[in-house]
């Protein structure tokens, strides 16, 4: 058991190392010179100050060092919780900016993912044996799942916000409101949160419910289900077993989905102008703010790895077969 966990943990550390290294390498492999681009913005018309400024920033960001040293510094800084300084919001620290944006993204994604997963599984399982549900939820599920997410988000933002004015599409809360534990502030937060949350929820709910419906139908046809029914077990028991077994592939699917949901989230936050990490990525990318971009990616890498690790542990807990293979691995 401990050996199994040690191995798993080793794999996660390896994944983390690879992620961080790629994250570090990408801006350095990309065409273009971010420092030069940044200095260009000051619109200096003579070469002298330009070079001086360039050298200054180059040194400040450490780009003048040999690559190897840059790499070391990167890790060193990382372990000291230092993700560098943003170019675009100079001299704001990247960590500060992430800390400001992350709560919005987490508040959006965590409930949307968990709620769509739980409800999708429940309703999908029900649809597997109730015609009425199967004929209503399923087509809707297919619709939401097949719809390009950006399209759904844009449609919602356009009709429900821009045309009908039912919802806002501006920031995380009403402009000018002082943050604090006040009803006005919290309700404003919820009001701004609702539409982006709903679109993310609907899209992944469609996917989960369809997947679960098909898995439960499959499980109800398996030999163990037939055997139970042949021996006179009540439908409730058969369904309970089927649900429990059908959830396993869904759980692996959840782990896989976590990575891609981040990408989709950029669209959400840009469309709804929601001040989370997705929006920050968009800004950083358009402004060629590599330090900020790298910092956010590291945050995401860590987040996805931690979430996957949690799912791994839950999986071991719910599927006894993984426990056996663990004993095999430890032997």
């Amino acid at each position: 058991m401990t050996r199994y966990f040690a191995r798993k943990l080793g794999l996660y550390v390896l994944a983390f190392w690879a992620g961080v290294t790629i994250d570090w390498a990408i801006p350095r492999l990309m065409p273009g010179n971010p420092i030069a681009a940044y200095v260009d913005r000051f619109a200096l018309n003579s070469q002298g100050p330009w070079t001086a400024l360039y050298k200054l920033f180059d040194k400040a960001f450490g780009y003048n060092l040999p690559l190897w040293d840059q790499y070391w510094h990167y890790w060193d800084n990382l372990f000291h919780g230092n993700l560098g300084i943003s170019l675009y919001a100079f001299p704001e620290k990247v960590t500060t900016m992430i800390a400001q944006a992350a709560p919005y993204t987490l508040a959006l994604l965590v409930p949307a993912i968990l709620l769509s997963y739980v409800l999708g599984n429940r309703i999908g399982a029900m649809a597997a044996r109730r015609k009425v549900l199967d004929n209503t939820v399923l087509p809707l599920g297919y619709l939401f799942q097949a719809m390009p997410y950006a399209w759904l988000a844009l449609a919602a933002a356009f009709y429900l916000a821009a045309v009908e004015h039912w919802f806002p599409v501006e920031g995380g809360y009403a402009a000018g409101l002082a943050s604090g534990f006040t009803w006005a502030y919290i309700s404003s937060l919820l009001y701004h949160w609702f539409l982006p949350f709903l679109t993310v929820f609907l899209v992944s709910f469609g996917g989960w419910s369809i997947g679960m419906r098909n898995l439960v139908i499959y499980e109800l046809e398996t030999d163990y289900a037939r055997y139970l029914r042949a021996l006179g077990a009540r439908g409730r028991l058969v369904r309970r077993y089927a649900y429990r077994n059908a959830v396993l592939p869904q759980l692996s699917g959840l782990a896989l989905q976590l990575g891609t949901v981040i990408g989709g989230n950029i669209v959400t936050e840009v469309v709804f102008n929601y001040p989370g990490l997705g929006h920050l990525i968009y800004t950083a990318a358009t402004d060629q703010d590599y330090a900020l971009l790298q910092g956010i990616f590291i945050f995401i890498i860590v987040g996805v790895l931690v979430a996957n690790f949690v799912i791994d542990i839950v999986y071991i807990w719910v599927d006894p077969r993984t426990r056996l293979s663990m004993q095999g691995a430890a032997a």
Partner: protein, 358 residues
């Protein structure tokens, strides 16, 4: 009389029409009788066995009645059957290796199953453990997951669970086919032991392995393309089968572990007819070396000799013309008249005498 089946018809609904997998089957199984059920793959053995306990979605009860211990068995009423399942009729299904939920411990599964039926595992636990030991499973098997067991162990576990409530009738579908030879023997012996100990009153043992039937069966019944062809005591079936199909099936058997599918049916080329729209008359006609005019009519499943039922015109003629004696093989001209009693014995039948079970 333990089980009595009257003109049972079971079909599968398919897109191309109904497949008549069991087509008018009448037979009985006595108390303490172990009846072997044999026949080529796809002839409807499992369908017949399954229909006695669980008619699932795609299956359709077209007609016929089933009686168990003098009371009608409501096979087409899924709810009403629940009461009888496991208690009166039970099954070790053909898929026994995968019959246990992979994510539940054997003991948990038994507990959940009994609880779902309004019973308590605790009540039968001592008996459960005794039987686990009897079939040679380790004591802690109740705390094990199915995937921790070998195929043979899973089969035995299924056997114990299925018979936990001492059913009147047990259907054992291919319980030996996936096992190695020594295990086949052992499981065969266990089946008779279960009967002898009174865990099960009577049994239908479906198998491809006639040597197992020679070992354990009291009677053997053979099916061909959804219909019964012959039923008699095991020794009669092995020594003196009357139906040409049975003769072909048994002609070089029994040999330990040999499945009749593994050999060609000697001298009988061809395949069984489609059950989607079977041809009229004797279903074996296409392949039967003795087929004659009369065979365009469906031969009835009749008791030709005491305790020996056969569905074959020629066998009927033979018996009527004095079975048991050797006849000359000259009159090979078949004639259509029912009155024509000139019997014609197949060469293999004469040669078979005395070739008993080893």
């Amino acid at each position: 009389m333990s089980l009595s089946v009257e003109n049972l018809r079971i079909a599968y609904r398919t897109l191309r029409g109904d497949v008549q997998a069991v087509d008018g089957v009448t037979f009985a199984v006595a108390d303490r009788e172990i009846m072997g059920l044999a026949g080529e793959s796809g002839c409807g053995k499992s369908t017949l066995g399954n229909s006695l306990i669980f008619i699932e979605g795609r299956m359709k009860h077209v007609g016929g009645t089933v009686e168990l211990d003098g009371k009608a068995l409501p096979i087409s009423d899924d709810r009403a059957m629940n009461h009888h399942r496991m208690r009166d009729v039970s099954i070790i299904p053909q898929y026994a290796m995968s019959a246990l939920n992979p994510t539940k411990k054997v003991g948990t599964l038994a507990h959940d199953l009994l609880k779902s039926r309004g019973m308590k595992l605790a009540k039968v636990l001592p008996e459960f453990r005794r039987r686990v030991a009897l079939v040679g499973l380790p004591e802690n098997v109740l705390e094990m997951y199915p995937f921790e067991l070998s195929g043979g162990m899973r089969q035995r576990a299924t056997m114990v669970i299925s018979t936990l409530l001492n059913p009147s009738l047990l259907i054992a579908d291919e319980v030996t086919s996936a096992l190695d030879v020594s295990n086949q023997r052992a499981v065969g012996e266990l089946l008779t032991e279960f009967r002898d100990l009174g865990y099960v009153k009577s049994m239908i043992v479906i198998t491809h392995d006639l040597s197992i039937l020679a070992q354990i069966a009291d009677t053997i019944m053979v099916m061909y393309a959804g219909k019964l062809t012959e039923k008699a005591s095991a020794s009669t079936m092995i020594d003196k089968p009357l139906h040409p199909y049975t003769q072909a099936l048994l002609s070089s058997l029994p040999e330990v572990g040999v499945r009749y599918e593994d050999r060609e049916l000697t001298g009988i080329p061809g395949r069984p007819p489609s059950l989607l729209s079977p041809p009229p008359g004797c279903r074996f006609r296409e392949r039967c070396p003795f087929a004659y005019d009369k065979c365009v009519e469906d031969p009835p499943f009749m008791e030709l000799l005491p305790g020996h039922q056969v569905a074959c015109w020629k066998a009927a003629d033979d018996v009527a013309g004095g079975a048991g004696r050797e006849h000359n093989e000259a009159s090979a001209t078949p004639s259509g008249g029912a009155g024509d009693a000139s019997p014609e014995r197949g060469p293999s039948l004469g040669a078979r005498a005395g070739k008993g079970a080893e």
